[in-house]
Symmetry: C2
Subunit: 334 residues, 2 copies
């Protein structure tokens, strides 16, 4: 039913090849014929069949985005939506489309293996992988261009990340400088790089300041609001005067726990979060937090990936992006 190159060729009195040239902006077409053909194309709103193009060229102009579900809380945390938004916007500008897979843990391996081999996409962005995730191996073996969101310790792995360790250190240091003495932390999942590195940053800040790292002031969470709430409840009995929390969602949970315990923020307990998701400027009190530019990071990842695809080079990419400490009221420095 839809038109084909051949149809357009017939309608404009040239050959299929010439139409193809017009569509692909080949230089060797006389201006006259180019205009004539273009007009027919416009009139009929002709769109070339991308499956056929894909088959002929081996390229689809589609990238895949793989988000392992269960890694974080996709429903509540705006991290992924923002990332997707950034990726999508960049793809729009470079004439790519995005294929989205939210993989469920039990099928993950099989699904990824399929994605990598069925030639639907030219490359993939993989978000928040675990440090020991076996899909890294699949990725490398497949020879498909890819980039991870989140540092990965393996050699020769392409990734894009913020310097979580440095950022965690910076946030904690801020609390140290404000004079807090019993600084606690609520960590993310420690088998995710972001969780682990932010925790290391916390440790480093204390060590660099000759302050002890007290195990009872370290509470593990999993990046969800609920886990922040629970962790804070556990921490309260050890009387921290400040807490560095590995993401904003957990910080919201922690604030909820503090409120229920009738502890004031920041007078009784100061709080610093991580992510600067949009709601964080509107909490009571507004949350001091480490801003990572999530959408731009997604865009950058997509851009790098498309560069890899189009250049055909596979030299390892490791890109680190900046963070910024956004000081609001929850840390007590106003």
């Amino acid at each position: 039913m839809p038109l084909t190159l051949e149809d357009i060729a017939r309608l404009s009195g040239v050959s299929r090849s010439t139409v193809s040239r017009v569509i692909n902006a080949d230089l060797n077409v006389k201006e006259d014929t180019r205009r004539k053909v273009q007009e027919i194309i416009n009139n009929f709103n002709f769109q070339p069949n991308l499956a056929a193009k894909r088959l002929a060229t081996g390229r689809s102009n589609v990238i895949g985005v793989i988000i392992p579900a269960g890694v974080s809380d996709l429903f509540t945390d705006p991290y992924f939506p923002q990332l997707l938004q950034g990726i999508s916007a960049l793809c729009n500008t470079r004439d790519y489309s995005v294929m989205l897979w939210l993989t469920e843990p039990e099928y993950e391996r099989r699904m990824i293996s399929r994605i990598l081999h069925n030639s639907l996409v030219d490359g993939v962005v993989v978000a928040s992988i675990l440090m020991d995730d076996p899909i890294i191996q699949l990725l490398i073996e497949s020879k498909m261009p890819y980039i991870l969101i989140g540092r990965h310790p393996t050699e020769d792995v392409n990734y894009l990340d913020v310097d979580n360790l440095q950022a965690g250190r910076k946030a904690t240091m801020h609390l140290v400088r404000l004079g807090y003495k019993r600084i606690a932390t609520i960590t993310g999942k420690k088998n995710q790089v972001a969780g682990y590195d932010r925790y290391l940053g916390y440790v480093k800040a204390l060590q660099d300041s000759d302050m002890p790292v007290r195990p009872e002031l370290v509470a593990d969470g999993d990046f969800t609001e609920e886990s922040g709430y629970n962790a804070m409840q556990r921490l309260i009995m050890y009387r921290p005067d400040a807490v560095f929390i590995a993401n904003d969602m957990m910080a919201y949970g922690a604030m909820r726990a503090l409120r229920e315990a009738n502890l004031r923020i920041p007078e009784d307990v100061a709080i610093v979060g991580f992510d600067d998701i949009p709601a964080s400027s509107k909490t009571v009190p507004p949350l001091t937090t480490v801003r990572q530019a999530i959408a731009p990071m997604g865009g950058k990842a997509a851009d790098l990936l498309i560069n890899m695809i189009e250049s055909g080079t596979m030299t390892t990419q490791k890109v680190i992006m900046d963070t910024e400490l956004v000081v609001r009221e929850s840390c007590g420095a106003s």
Copy 2:
């Protein structure tokens, strides 16, 4: 580089056709050969080229999801993530993939026209369209299977929605029954069906209860937190004792405004929201709200769409899903 059907055929000593039959679970294959071929396929982890399949069959097993950006606040509101999650999960079970397009208003028309004609997808789910959106026309003309999330007034349009009017009425009625006398509303965008219908439900509840609809107690928002905050500030001077708010994000904004004005919830002003997004059970006080099962709705939409695709029938689908009023503390009924 990747293997083809022909390769597998050679390796297992049968013809390309037979391999194809094995892959597509054709019945007319002897059990012996089926097993033999399947083994080779497994050993080499062979994945058929979907572009070629697409070209040969005219079907891709991919559905598109189109989300017009700027319609709502994609970053903050978990509505879309949940919807996507539901769609994606269903697609996983039916062996479909999803292509995601976050269209930007200025390119929207052109982009959609491309999506509909370039044969990448077998059908599309379109989320939150405006009531007078011109892309409806494109959709209908294209003959591609589609389904809208959100009622649309035009005849012969496929959609899936909750009964927003009924739900709005139910929520407002709840406030009426609790004895509130000056019930206000903060509306969503009135050129979106959800915004309009929820507002109509509010009006209907008051009329059915012989209560006046006071224009000064109707404040327009646009579904964002910010707009809820602003709308509430405007409402305060008219002393409402209760407010029905067209979504939870705006309810958060409204609560923030009330808190700043030192008005207690629900003692001074009662609040009912709409959506029951996850955070709403954790606000202070917890939010009474209309629950719509967002992820299941996405799943249902994808399911319907795939049914349309596979059956080839194009009979108009109009599906209405249930809502439920979740009573918590913000309405003062405990």
